[in-house]
Amino acid sequence: MREWSAIVLAGGKGKRLMPLTALIPKPLVKVTNVPMVDYAIAHLIFADIKHITLALAYMGEDLKDYIKKTWTTDKLGDVELEFEIQDSKGTADAYRLLNEHIDSEKVVVSMADIVTNLPMKDFMDFHSEKEGLATISMKTVESHISQYGVVLLDKNRKIYLFLEKPAPMELYLSSMAQRTDLFLHTNIINTGIYCFNKKIGDILHETGLMDFGSEVFPYLLENQYDLYGFVKNYYWLDCGNNQTYMWANWDLLRHYAWPITPNGKEYDGIYVIGIINSGQNITIEKPTCFGEFVQLANRVKIKELTSIGNNVTIGEDTVIEKSVIWDEVKIGAGCIITESIICNNCEIGDNVVLERAIIAPNCKISDNYQIREKTLELGQQV
C-alpha cells in the first residue's frame, strides 16, 4: 500500500463567482492564464504524490475532457490521475464516495478553486509526525472572525474547539474562561486542505456526515479524536468572488505566491505564452501576462497587473490596467479599462470605458459606452 494519495475536490458550481462561471465550472476559471484545477494538480505532483483522484460534479464531463487533454502521460510520468463524476452532497460526502479508490495509509484532500503555495511536503510531514487522525492546514489572516470562525489550539497545535460564527458575547466569555495554555485564535482560518489517516473513511461511512468543516471536525473533537492544525504563513487565496479572483491574478503577477507563477515565459516581469503581434509605440508595463495570439494595435498601453488571454485583439490607443481579459476577446480603439474582468467571446466597441466592471461571456458593448462598478450578465448587449 502507498504511503500517500490525494483527492482533489473539484465539483463546486462557483455560484459566488457568477457570471464568470456561467459557462464553465469554477476549477476551469483561469488565473493568469492557468485554470485553477491545474494549479491544484501541479501542487500535489510537486509534493511527490503518485495517485491523485479528482472528485467532479458540476459540468463534470467538460472538466474531465479538459484534464484528459491537458494532463497527458508525458506530463504525468508515473503519476496516476483518476476522475470520478459524482453527485455528492458536501466535501465529506465526496470523500466517502471515493473511499474505495484510496490505496494509501494517508490521504491529502485538496481543492480546485484556491490558489496557494502551502508547503505541501511540510504539511504532510507534520501530519505524519503528530500521528493524529486529521490535520487541517491553517493560516493567519488579516481578517475578522465574522467571515471565518474561531479555533482553540494548544502549544502543540492540537485543536480543542471550533466555533463557526460565534456571537460576540459568547467569544468574550470564552476568552475570559480560557486556560492559560490554550490559545483562542480569531485570525486563523481553515484553508480547506486536509491530511487524513485512512481510518477517516470508516468514520464517514458510520456517521454519514456530509461536510468536513461544519460536521466532521466538530464530530471528531466531540469524540476525542486527535486533530491538529498546521499553521504557517504561506500564500492562500480562495477565489470565491470576483474581487478575490481579481486579487489572485494580481498576486500571482506580483510573485506573492512564489514559486507559483503565471503561465508563459518570463521576460523581466512580463509573461508571454505565444507571440504578441504588436503595432507601433505600444507600452507594456510589468508585471503582466499574455496568452497566445494577442494583437496589440498602435499605441496600446498595457499597464501593471493585467492578465490577457488567448486570441485577444486590442485596438489603437486603448489603455488597460489591473484587469483580467479572458480568451477570444475583441476590444476596440480608444478604450480605457481599469480593474475589470472581461470573460470569453466578448466584443467591446471603440472608446468604451470600463471601471471595476465585470463583463460575462458572450457580451457585446457598443461604442462610447461607459460601465462603472456594474456587472453585465451572460450574452448581454448594450
Binding site: I145, S146, L171, W247
Partner: protein
C-alpha cells in the same frame, strides 16, 4: 441644530464642539441612522475617551442605536485601537468611538468602524450624512421588547494586552531588562500601557496616566514632550514615548532625549523588523508626502511603494487590497498587518522594543545612519511664553493661509506645490524649527516656502 451634517465633516469625520454644534440630539439621530444600516440584532462595540463631553455624546448615540434593535458591547473608556481590536476579536459587526482629538482641542468627533476594524470609507459616511438630511425617513424603530441590549465587557483590557504580547518575542524583550518612560497624555492608554510593559518585564516610568479635563492646550505638547525627554535622560532610560490621546500613534524619544522622527522610524522598521524583512517583494504603503529619499530607500530595500492619501481608513483598505507587508503615514501612524490593518501605538512600541532587543542596540544609534533628504532648514528664536500654545496658533494661521497640512503631534507638515515643510518647536531651546524639502529637484521652491513661513511666524 445643524441642518446638514455635511457642515460637521472635518478630515473625513463628523466633528463638532459639544453642545455648541454637536448636541446630544444630533448624536442620538446619528445613532439611529447608523443602527439602521445594520441588520436587526447585530452587535457593535462602543467606546470613548475620558472626557465628559465624549461621554455625553456617546450616551445619546447609544440611545439612538438601541432604538434600532442593535446590541452593544460597551467598552466605556478605551483607546481607539483597543476598540478596533475588540470588534475583530469578538466578531462584532462594527463599532463607534467618541473622542476629542489632538488636532481640534475643543471638538469631539465620532468615528465609525467596520467589522474588519477599519474606519468607514467616505462613501459610507456620506450615506449617514444623506440619511441625516432626510431624518427619520430611513430609520428603523423596533418594538419595545426588541430594543438592543447594552452589555459591559470590562475585562477586555486583559485580553487585549495578552493578544498584543503574542505578536512579539516577549522572552527576549524581558531578558533585555529595559527601562522606558511613557507619557500616556491623560488618555485611556494610561490603564493599558504600564500593565502591558510590566507584564513583559520592562520597567516603566509612567506619566500622566490619570484623568484630566480637556484643556485649551492639547497633549502631548511641547511641555509634556520636554518633560518626557528630561526624565529619559535623568533616569538613564532607554526610550521615551508620548502617546497621542486616542492611543493610535506615538512620539518616540531616544536614549539621548532626542526625538526620533517619522522618517527615521519608517526606515528603522524597513531595515530591522524581521517580518518586514522576510516579506521582500511585497508592497509597502505610504502617504504621498513622504520624502523622495525615504521612498527610494524603501525601494532600494526591495519593496515596491504604493502611495495612498491619508483619509480615514484608506491606508487600511489598501493594505488589504495590496496584501502589503507594512504601511506608514507621516502623521506617525505605522501599520503592521501581521497584527492588524490599523495603527496601534502600543503595538508600535512593542515592535520598537523588539527591534532594539533583536539588534542589541539603542534606538539613537540604530536610527543614526539613515539617509536624509536634501532639506532647507531654518531656526527662528521665539519668546518662551509663546511656546505653550504655539501648535494651536500655528494650525489657525495655516488654515487662514489656506495651506494643506498634516498634524504630527508636535509638528505640522505643510504640503504646498510639491514642497513638504515641517514646523515644530525645538525640544531643547526656545525656537521654531522649519525644514523644507521639494519632491522635485528644485531647492528654490523649498527656500521660497521657508521664507513665506518665516514671515508668517514672525508676525505671530
Amino acid at each position: 441644530m445643524v441642518e446638514n451634517l455635511k457642515d460637521m465633516i472635518k478630515g473625513g469625520r463628523i466633528v463638532g464642539r459639544a453642545n455648541y454644534v454637536f448636541t446630544p440630539e444630533i448624536s442620538s439621530s446619528i445613532g439611529s441612522i447608523h443602527g439602521s444600516l445594520f441588520g436587526q440584532n447585530e452587535s457593535i462595540v462602543i467606546g470613548r475617551d475620558y472626557h465628559n463631553d465624549s461621554r455625553m455624546l456617546k450616551r445619546a448615540y447609544t440611545s439612538g442605536i438601541m432604538s434600532t434593535g442593535i446590541d452593544l458591547l460597551n467598552l466605556s473608556d478605551c483607546t481607539f485601537p483597543m476598540l478596533q481590536f475588540t470588534i475583530r476579536r469578538f466578531g462584532a459587526s462594527g463599532g463607534v468611538y467618541v473622542s476629542g482629538g489632538h488636532l481640534y482641542s475643543e471638538d469631539v468627533g465620532i468615528r465609525f468602524v467596520n467589522a474588519g476594524g477599519i474606519e468607514l470609507a467616505q462613501t459610507e459616511i456620506q450615506k449617514i450624512v444623506k440619511s441625516y438630511n432626510n431624518y427619520p425617513e430611513k430609520v428603523r424603530r423596533v418594538e419595545p421588547n426588541e430594543i438592543g441590549q447594552i452589555t459591559a465587557i470590562p475585562q477586555t483590557d486583559d485580553i487585549y494586552i495578552k493578544s498584543l504580547q503574542q505578536f512579539v518575542n516577549k522572552k527576549r524583550i524581558k531578558k533585555a531588562d529595559l527601562r522606558i518612560v511613557v507619557d500616556c497624555s491623560y488618555g485611556p492608554t494610561g490603564k493599558i500601557t504600564p500593565l502591558l510593559l510590566n507584564d513583559i518585564g520592562v520597567e516603566v516610568i509612567a506619566l500622566n496616566t490619570h484623568y484630566r479635563e480637556r484643556s485649551q492646550n492639547p497633549v502631548p505638547n511641547i511641555n509634556t514632550i520636554r518633560n518626557t525627554a528630561n526624565i529619559v535622560k535623568a533616569s538613564n532610560s532607554y526610550l521615551g514615548i508620548c502617546f497621542d490621546v486616542d492611543g493610535s500613534r506615538i512620539l518616540v524619544i531616544d536614549e539621548n532625549g532626542l526625538e526620533v522622527n517619522f522618517e527615521e522610524l519608517l526606515m528603522l522598521f524597513v531595515s530591522y523588523d524581521e517580518r518586514i524583512q522576510k516579506s521582500k517583494g511585497n508592497t509597502i504603503i505610504t502617504t504621498p508626502s513622504i520624502s523622495p529619499i525615504v521612498k527610494r530607500f524603501i525601494e532600494d530595500n526591495g519593496f515596491p511603494v504604493k502611495q495612498v492619501e491619508n483619509l480615514p481608513g484608506e491606508i487600511s483598505r489598501q493594505i488589504r487590497e495590496e496584501r502589503a507587508c507594512f504601511a506608514a503615514s507621516d502623521t506617525l501612524k505605522f501599520y503592521l498587518p501581521e497584527y492588524s490593518p490599523f495603527s496601534d501605538g502600543n503595538f508600535i512600541l512593542l515592535k520598537i522594543l523588539e527591534i532594539m532587543t533583536n539588534q542589541n542596540d539603542l534606538l539613537g544609534s540604530l536610527s543614526r545612519g539613515f539617509p536624509k533628504g536634501i532639506k532647507i532648514n531654518k531656526s527662528i528664536s521665539i519668546s518662551p511664553s509663546m511656546l505653550d500654545n504655539f501648535h494651536n496658533q500655528l494650525i489657525k494661521l495655516t488654515e487662514e493661509h489656506g495651506f494643506k497640512y498634516l498634524d504630527i503631534i508636535n509638528e505640522l507638515k505643510i504640503i504646498d506645490n510639491d514642497v513638504f515643510t515641517t514646523i515644530k518647536v525645538a525640544l531643547n531651546r526656545s525656537a521654531i524649527l522649519l525644514s523644507a524639502e521639494s519632491c522635485v529637484e528644485d531647492t528654490n521652491a523649498a527656500k521660497n516656502m521657508i521664507q513665506t513661513l518665516e514671515e508668517i511666524i514672525k508676525n505671530m
